[in-house]
Symmetry: C2
Subunit: 326 residues, 2 copies
């Protein structure tokens, strides 16, 4: 029988944990998910996920023997150097959790863990639109704003492992209060929560009581997107303002690492031209001319499917190590 | 006779070109300079500098044979990938000059060229306070503001070679007009020209005719420094404002590459505490808390002597390549 090598990709999110088995071409041959919030103890989540992965792996095959070469884990506040999740604001487990060690013990395979946005950047480089690129940025526009940066073909971790917290670049001094304790951070403007705040501000500026009639808890980027499509000017302007600030922030970001392309990923990018057009316009306007000399820096949507990217990104942690040892 | 390997270090500045011969411990065994502006044709500068370097190299030695292993060149708008100086605003040669090729031909040794701030960062890593560091920034505060960034032990060049143009991060939207065509760039505030503009603004805000009595062309950072020491409040406040913006910009910069330390270098740093104190205060205030978790990120003066750093930095281009091949 032939042997098929597979990597597990596990993405631990605030709401759901998605996981799967990925071959070296990036084909997901099994995928599943559980609700993260169902597990009061992270060890229980590890047990359940590992059991399902091993069951899928060992399912009787007629022509191939499957072999698990490792497990890659993406998680908010994931620390690559230590394999731990540290005080993630979106997870209810509040201590430092040695997640890589837990999975290593249950799966009997090497386990590597990284921050979710960094995993997404790895996935883009291994299986997506960044194949062959040595210098690029990937920005995730979800509830918050995350970033994975690749320089000279390697993810940038920095001295402490915390490089790339782009969501906390101060974009407007003395601006909106951020959860980090500072004011004016990028993710207070360019993210799901950011565009909702902008939309509310616009509505209130037109009518101080505008929010009284709305069920504000149900309003998210998707709602604003649908409003904009239906001709709501406030919603349209909210996307414009978000793109304008994002383009400005990306033009400043280019200066640090000189990327070939910037990939945008996550919820907000589903709005397509509504977010990409103002972002690109503002990016070009604010870009230092020297970066236009030879090649345009491209702003592109991630080429990975939204529901597969997280698993592929996490599995890339293993496939990249595998590539290096060859 | 013993053989002594030496690298030439050549720093081409807007006013002076400094050059020397450097051994692998960073000892400068010969140094000299010419006025850059004396040479209408860059080839004439190359000829003169090369002749003096070769004369020094071949001066009769009793106990050692000297061997030139290569020449490193630092220059404004230096392009490492092409070995060219490209449209440098501070140099009167306005075309694209293949400077590395010229020196290679005259010195009969390999020649490498890079941007002057990147050379300074290499010098700090090879011979200065950044020895052993894999992730740090060096910021030069001269006429303008330059930056060399080291990530994973390597200088960051980016896709086009233009990474690190920190002087052109927009720090104040719609701020001061910059020579690059955009507004609010960092070097319009945090540099020699920047602090002069700030000082003039403060004087004018106190008295609209304040500048009429001054010989404004002679005023530079050194003048403002001496004024501040003598108790001039406007001068003192100019340093405070410069440091406040610099600290804020550095706190934002940390987010991209997560450095272990930031080195400050060049004219403005001669003001010592007058510039370091407000910079560090603002840096700590604006820093994302996660970067304070384990170790403080240090803001330090360059440990290389002002008049030697440029030669050492340029020579480091050669010594680093030499180290790699061993």
């Amino acid at each position: 029988m032939k042997a098929q090598e597979l990597a597990a990709g596990i993405d631990i999110g605030g709401t759901n944990t998605r996981f799967g088995l990925v071959d070296k071409e990036g084909t997901i041959i099994f995928k599943d998910s559980v609700r993260t919030t169902d597990f009061a103890d992270p060890k229980d989540l590890v047990n359940t996920v590992s059991e399902r992965i091993l069951t899928a792996l060992n399912r009787k095959q007629e022509t191939v023997n499957r072999k698990l070469i490792g497990a890659g884990i993406g998680a908010p506040n994931g620390n690559f150097f230590k394999g731990t999740i540290e005080l993630a604001p979106n997870l209810k487990w509040k201590s430092v959790i040695p997640m890589a060690k837990y999975f290593n013990e249950e799966l009997h395979a090497p386990a590597l863990l990284t921050n979710d946005a960094k995993a997404a950047a790895l996935g883009e480089m291994q299986f997506g639109g960044a194949r062959g690129m040595k210098n690029f940025l990937l920005v995730t526009l979800g509830t918050g704003l995350g970033c994975g940066m690749v320089v000279n073909g390697e993810l940038v971790y920095g001295y402490d492992g915390f490089a790339g917290e782009l969501g906390h670049v101060i974009i407007i001094q003395h601006g909106r209060q951020c959860g980090c304790g500072r004011k004016g951070c990028l993710e207070q403007y360019c993210s799901n929560q950011g565009i909702v705040k902008t939309y509310f501000e616009i509505l209130k500026s037109e009518n101080p009581h505008a929010l009284d009639e709305l069920d504000t808890d149900t309003i998210n980027a998707k709602y604003i997107y649908e409003k904009a499509l239906a001709g709501d000017e406030a919603a349209f302007y909210a996307f414009n303002y978000t793109g304008e600030l994002l383009g400005y922030a990306l033009a400043n970001s280019v200066i640090y690492t000189g990327p070939e392309a910037i990939f945008l990923f996550g919820g907000l990018t589903q709005a397509g031209e509504l977010i990409f057009n103002p972002t690109i316009l503002s990016f070009e306007k604010n870009l230092l001319p020297v970066y236009k000399l030879r090649n345009k820096i491209k702003i592109l949507p991630s080429s990975l499917k939204e529901d597969e990217a997280a698993i592929l990104g996490a599995a890339s942690l293993i496939w990249r190590e595998e590539d290096k040892t060859k």
